[in-house]
Amino acid sequence: MNDRPSWFEDPAKVTRLVRVLYGLCALMFVADLLYRKHAHFGFENVFGFYAIYGFVACVALVLAAKLLRRILMRREDYYDAPETRETAPHREDAH
């Protein structure tokens, strides 16, 4: 246990890490030039198909989930019996 601010808490370093990630993504995107696909489906041959699909899928997933929250989200004690509501948050120390 140490209390020194660590590597992950320095915003500049986090930004650098994020840039490295973006760089890797760009590299992986153009990696499609390096090999021949043995595709089962025609659309797999689109350049960078997996990369585009992964990105779009995740953005769509998060945006849809955000919308779902409006319909599905309830208070944390929604299912609790009325007599036990407004008590301390559900916690426990050990087992």
Binding site: M1, M28, A31, K37, A51, Y53, C58, A65, M73
Partner: protein, 563 residues
């Protein structure tokens, strides 16, 4: 001599409460090891055949399919026992071993009747892992859990009775939907496998169990269901769509769920979906993939639940909204968690990469475009919610100021062993492939596969990063999200309440005026008979004679008319 591993674990658990430490720990560690030796010393075949009345039973069947499931169950038992060594509570220890033994007995059962007995035993023994939390909330969750498990058992029993009446046999081989009782048995299995709509017991109750309990629960019940599905329903077309829906819908919930163990429960349903699709495809590749992925899932999902259990033990919470920055206090747990995350996300060199891809390939070989795209979406999504969200919100994100101890040594050993197995399978897949029911010709490490999977995952990570840094990503909030359990936790009780009120109202609105009307009618009818009523007064003789004549005259008239 045959040493049945299920009997060994179940009977071996019974003396536990009377054993003193450290003998008790040693005994618990010994049982799964002896069980494994026992299992592998039994050659393939059918054993313990007995005829009960006219029903031919087969208490023990060992073949490739049951052997691989029994083996991974024993490994999971071993890991759970190590993880629970710091516990001094015999309820959970006995429950863990008897529950594991029941699940192993289930996969080694050669007929449906024996399967049914173990099927019910898994429910009855495992509910104590929820109740052991000893809170009102856990008690209620345990009751809901038990009700669903017993219902599944009853459906199986009904199905097997119809099957026996139709075929004269209870042997458990390929059934399919056209077999007598086929639909009932599939529904029973579907509950254990968490088919959509039948699923909500899983995400509802698993996160309510104890720290050890959730780890143990995640390994057995659902995989017993997957085993039964692979045995009885391989190649059933409907399963392909059911499974594909299972892979997709839970990831939306997982993104917005706050309780990180519940996030993992949703991702468990998502992983089961891949297995169900593989079984539905039914080719050798599909079934192999499903079985391999079940083995991998027991290890990496167990590992993830273990890491979240360690977080719960040390901080008292697993809510994403209250956690963060734990990597400083719990660096080893964080590392193990990330190995689990990489495995479930199917990074190259980790177990999911060599198992899930078999299912994807099986789907592609059948040219099922829509299903394949759904599974690919779910693959990106699982990395998003289980691969990134779990480690990120627990160990990184904002430092919430927890300065806690690292997880206990025994927990770290359990997590480390599970992590090592995940990497071992990922790096040496042929070790697992050799155990599968069919010969494997699949080669996971091709250039295209490695690059494509890395593209998918890295760009998913980029999507997470972009959304996080632009503030679009939904924050972790203390909340409950409605799922299908709403129907029986809210709608059903509410409907019952409303129905009672309506019936009460109807009784007051209809019965009361009726009763009042009846009382009035009675009073009116009684009035002439009372002391001063006109019927009760003395009649004169002449009036009586007049009436008698009138009556006789009327009778005479009627008689004449008839003639």
């Amino acid at each position: 001599m045959i040493l049945h591993p299920a009997y060994l674990l179940i009977l071996g658990a019974l003396p536990l409460p009377w054993l003193k430490q450290p003998i008790r720990s040693a005994w618990m560690l010994l049982l799964p090891i002896v069980g494994m030796v026992g299992l592998w010393s039994i050659p393939d075949g059918h054993y313990a055949l007995l005829t009960l009345y006219d029903v031919k039973m087969e208490l023990l069947r060992v073949d490739a399919l049951s052997r691989v499931f029994a083996s991974i169950f024993l490994v999971a038992t071993m890991l759970a026992v190590i993880y629970a060594l710091n516990l001094r509570e015999s309820v959970q220890q006995v429950a863990t071993l008897t529950y594991a033994g029941s699940a192993i007995g289930g996969v080694l059962a050669g007929d449906l009747l024996t399967l049914f007995v173990y099927w019910e035993m898994t429910g009855l023994t495992s509910v104590f892992l929820i109740w052991a939390r000893r809170s009102e909330r856990a008690y209620r969750a345990g009751m809901r859990y038990l009700a669903v498990q017993v219902l599944s058992g009853l459906l199986l029993l009904a199905g097997l009775i119809i099957h026996y009446r139709g075929t004269g046999s209870v042997s458990f081989n390929t059934l399919g939907l056209d077999a007598p009782g086929g639909w009932l048995i599939l529904t029973a299995i579907g509950i254990k496998c968490a088919f959509p709509v039948l699923h909500s017991w899983l995400q509802d109750t698993y996160p309510e169990a104890t720290i050890v309990g959730t780890v143990v629960l995640s390994s057995f019940t659902t995989k017993l269901g997957i085993y039964a599905l692979a045995r009885g329903y391989a190649g059933t077309e409907e399963l392909i769509w059911i499974g594909a829906v299972m892979t997709c819908f839970p990831i939306f919930y997982a993104v917005i769920e706050n309780d990180l163990r519940r996030v993992l429960a949703y991702s468990l349903i998502n992983q089961l979906g891949f297995m169900v699709v593989g079984i539905g495809i039914g080719t050798e590749m599909g079934v192999n993939g499903a079985v391999a992925h079940a083995v991998a899932d027991i290890l990496f999902k167990g590992l993830l639940f273990m890491s979240m259990g360690a977080v719960l033990l040390r901080t008292g919470t697993v809510n994403g909204s209250e956690l963060g920055g734990l990597f400083k206090s719990m660096p080893q747990t964080a590392t193990f968690c990330m190995v689990g995350a990489a495995s479930i996300s199917a990074f190259p060199l980790f177990s999911g990469f060599v198992t899930k891809s078999m299912i994807m390939t099986a789907v592609a070989e059948e040219h099922r475009t829509v299903i394949w795209l759904m599974l690919l979406f779910a693959s990106a999504g699982v990395f998003h919610h289980a691969g990134i969200k779990i480690p990120f919100f627990a160990f990184f994100a904002h430092d919430r100021g927890y300065r806690v101890e690292e997880a206990p040594l025994n927990m770290r050993i359990a997590m480390g062993s599970a992590a090592a197995l995940c990497i071992l399978i990922g790096c040496a897949p042929e070790l697992l492939y050799g155990l599968l029911p069919y010969p494997v010709e699949y080669v996971p490490y091709t250039t295209a596969h490695v690059i494509n999977q890395t593209q998918l995952l890295l760009l998913s990570a980029m999507a997470f990063t972009v959304l996080m840094r632009t503030g679009i990503y939904p924050p972790e909030l203390r909340s409950v999200n409605l799922d299908f359990d709403w129907f029986y936790r809210r709608l059903l009780p509410a409907t019952a309440g409303t129905a009672t009120r309506i019936i009460d109202g109807a009784r007051n609105g209809v019965l009361a005026p009726l009763q009042r009307g009846a009382a009035t009618a009675l009073r009116i009818a009684q009035t002439p008979l009372r002391a001063q009523g006109w019927l009760a007064l003395p009649w004169t003789t002449s009036l009586m004679i007049a009436w008698t004549v009138l009556l006789l005259g009327a009778l005479l008239l009627l008689a004449l008319l008839r003639a």
